[in-house]
């Protein structure tokens, strides 16, 4: 099977992508959304013409010196400002709006407003990190359980371990892409992004399990004295069309959502598209080949050289 044969090439492709993601995260970091840090995000439109951005900036600086203003144009061609600043109270909100309207000169219309206190932000961050950790732990336990009857030549917890390596791969790549996008286009990593990552985790494991499941079945069928690498190779080729087709239908749904779904879910669907593409790649080209690599490492000391695959009940 060519996937197994050329696995080092596929490892390198992933290695390069993961390294690039790490470098990007290290250099540019990610821009956390206000739902993690606490803060205020205001989206305002100006039906009677948008005032000069620098004018507003100087007015706002009085209230919050580190407030940032970004101009944006909606799909309907409406010109808006998106303001990000420290958390404000209801009382402060009035003065912020008079600043945005340059003292009633250009009336600002509020389209979207959220102000989140730092306490709630910290809580959201903590919950997000916990849910990622819990999902990963639950998945390892589940895979170890589901594959408990497979002990030879690779014990069941190693299937879980391999799935985790694939998962980390799938989470790092979209984070890296968002780190680049946050530097160049102001994309933020918010609770929605974390939700997208968790879905990617779910999808990627879903995909990886289908291949593992085939390996499990082929081991049980005891295909003679075939080498483990050959069994894995066959399993990959048997599930290959399915993996591609399922990912394709899911990606179709997501790309359509990205194009037509409206601004609320735009970044969310982008994160999912990147993550699911990475997840499909990893379940075919990383997960199962890694099983072979682990088996090869384990059998190096074996004098017979050829791995046996016994199915132990």
């Amino acid at each position: 099977m060519w996937v197994i044969k050329y696995r080092k090439i596929f490892y390198s492709i992933s290695g390069i992508l993961v390294t690039a993601s790490f470098v990007s995260i290290a250099i540019w970091g990610v821009k956390p959304g206000i739902d993690f840090t606490g803060g205020t995000l205001i989206e305002v439109a100006y039906p009677a013409g948008r005032p000069d951005q620098t004018k507003i900036a100087s007015q706002l600086a009085v209230i919050d010196p580190v407030a940032s203003i970004r101009s944006s144009v909606t799909k309907d061609g409406e010109e808006e400002f998106i303001i990000r600043m420290k958390p404000i109270t209801q009382a402060e909100k009035a003065s912020v709006f008079s600043a945005l309207s340059i003292d009633a000169e250009n009336k600002a219309v509020e389209k979207n407003y959220s102000s989140i206190g730092p306490v709630l932000g910290g809580e959201a961050l903590r919950k997000s990190l916990w849910s990622i950790a819990l999902v990963i732990i639950a998945i390892v336990l589940f895979i170890t359980f589901a594959f408990r009857k497979v002990a030879e030549p690779v014990s069941s917890w190693k299937y879980g371990l391999v799935a985790i390596v694939a998962l980390i791969h799938d989470v790092i790549i979209p984070t890296g892409v968002f780190s680049v996008l946050s530097h160049y286009a102001g994309y933020e990593v918010d609770t929605l992004f974390v939700t997208a990552l968790l879905v990617v985790l779910g999808f990627s494991v879903h995909d990886t399990i289908v291949v593992f499941d085939r390996v499990r079945e082929n081991l049980r069928l005891g295909s003679g004295n075939k080498a483990f690498s050959q069994i894995v190779g066959e399993s990959i080729s048997q599930t290959f069309t399915r993996s591609i087709n399922t990912s394709l239908t899911t990606l179709i749904a997501l790309i359509v959502l990205y194009i037509f779904g409206g601004s609320t879910t735009e970044h969310f669907s982008l994160a999912l598209i990147i993550g699911i593409a990475a997840g499909t790649y990893s379940s075919i080209f990383i997960g199962s080949p890694l099983l072979v690599t682990i088996e090869k490492l384990g059998s190096k000391g074996d004098s017979s050289g050829k791995s046996k695959n016994k199915f132990s009940q």
């Binding site: 099977m1 209801q90 009035a94 509020e110 979207n112 407003y113 959220s114 102000s115 206190g117 306490v119 709630l120 809580e123 903590r126 919950k127 997000s128 916990w130 849910s131 819990l134 999902v135 639950a138 998945i139 589940f142 895979i143 609770t191 929605l192 939700t195 879905v199 985790l201 779910g202 999808f203 494991v205 879903h206 995909d207 399990i209 289908v210 499941d213 085939r214 079945e217 069309t241 399915r242 087709n245 399922t246 394709l248 239908t249 899911t250 990606l251 179709i252 749904a253 997501l254 359509v256 959502l257 194009i259 037509f260 779904g261 409206g262 601004s263 609320t264 879910t265 969310f268 999912l272």
Partner: protein, 496 residues
Amino acid sequence: MIKHRARAVMLLIIAAAIGYFVYISQNPGSTHQFRLGLDLSGGTHLVYQADVSKLASEDIKDSMSSLRDVVERRVNMFGVSEPLVQTEQAAALSSKESAYKLIVELPGVTDVDEAVRSIGATPSLEFKLLTADQMRSFQASSTSISSSTELEAAYLALFKPTGLTGSMVAKAALEFNNTTNQPVVGLTFTSEGRDLFSKITKDNIGNYLGIFLDGKDISVPVIRDQISDGKGQISGTFTLDEAKKLVRDLNYGALPVPITLISTQTIGPSLGEASVKGGLKAGVIAFIIIAIFLIIWYRLPGVVAVVALGCYIALNLAIFKIGVSPALFIIILFFGVLSIFWHRGFLAGIPISYVLLALVPGGLSPVTLTATGIAGFILSIGMAVDANILIFERMREELARGASIWDAMHQGFDRAWLSIRDSNTSSIITGIILYEFGSSAVITGFALVFVVGVVVSMFTAITASRLFLYAVAPSRASKFTLFLVNNGFFRRKSSI
């Protein structure tokens, strides 16, 4: 064969009926319209942090529920349709200071400032005047107005504010009426209040002084004399507890638990509308493209998959409408598994438990759809195809091995089941963790839709897809029928 066809037709009729229900219940006035979250309908989401540090731990629960009641009363006065007021107590992973929260959702309200003021205010105790003449003419005309709510509104509108409010009350105390022994609330005004009260009572002898608490009239005594000592009394038809509560509210501020606003989110209605329209459009387009792909690649089974996907969508949307609690998922899954491995009769457990769950208050409230929920649903359409694809790929392998069409179908379902079960279980685990730890309605809304989607897709794959395929499968193997049930365009080596 006939048996399968009859069953398939029956299933189609049921699915069509469900689809019709989904469609017809969107008509205005129906009680089963989709429930849209704030991000879609527009409105305001407020989160308050409740300070329970001064309360004894055994009182916290009661205080929080009375806090909820007070705030709900005030919000209702604000005239919002279907407001949501709920408390969140010691949720998973919240820090100590934010352990107790009050969440207020006001659909359609964009004047947040006003709403926030009225929620956080001290109890609005107001004294308003009504002249004796007005009272007489009102009583004379009252017979001409039939509706009692209109009557009350007209009555309340007659009162004129005096400027005397609860903020001018220095002290409130529980007292008892000497003759009736009824509990009354004694008020001592501040010096400013005393002067105003003295002036009002002096100028309006014979008129009525209405005492309003949170906008509701609790007593409307007649002013008999000027009162200049700064002392007043509220004598409504209080129970002892109500009087005590009013005293406490007036002395210690409005709410049983002090609250601070820690998050405000306002979504304009236009943005929500765009999300709904976009989501709907995306769903339809995605479905069409996926359907075309499935039919071209998988031919006859592809058509079956598309029909099954239609059933999936109808069933899913119906569940959003009638509501499903997480408990019901577990029950459906449990009985579903039992019926597959044990006996079909266990399927009867699903409607029975549904009826039982319907008796639990709130157990079957509709799924609130958010923008992310719609995204989750569209994602699930893509993923729901997976079980079908797994089965069809398996069928093709069996055909390649030389199995008959009929055997290939049976084997295909049997062999694919383990993959379907294990892979979907991991997705459900992810969904449940998301639901439990989701920090906002945005995430839990997504997680709920996602889990419903995965469970329903498993169900439709093993029931609808299987039945339809059996019903339409050609019984004789010819070159043409084999082409129909086979798939793909590349000849693949049977072993590599």
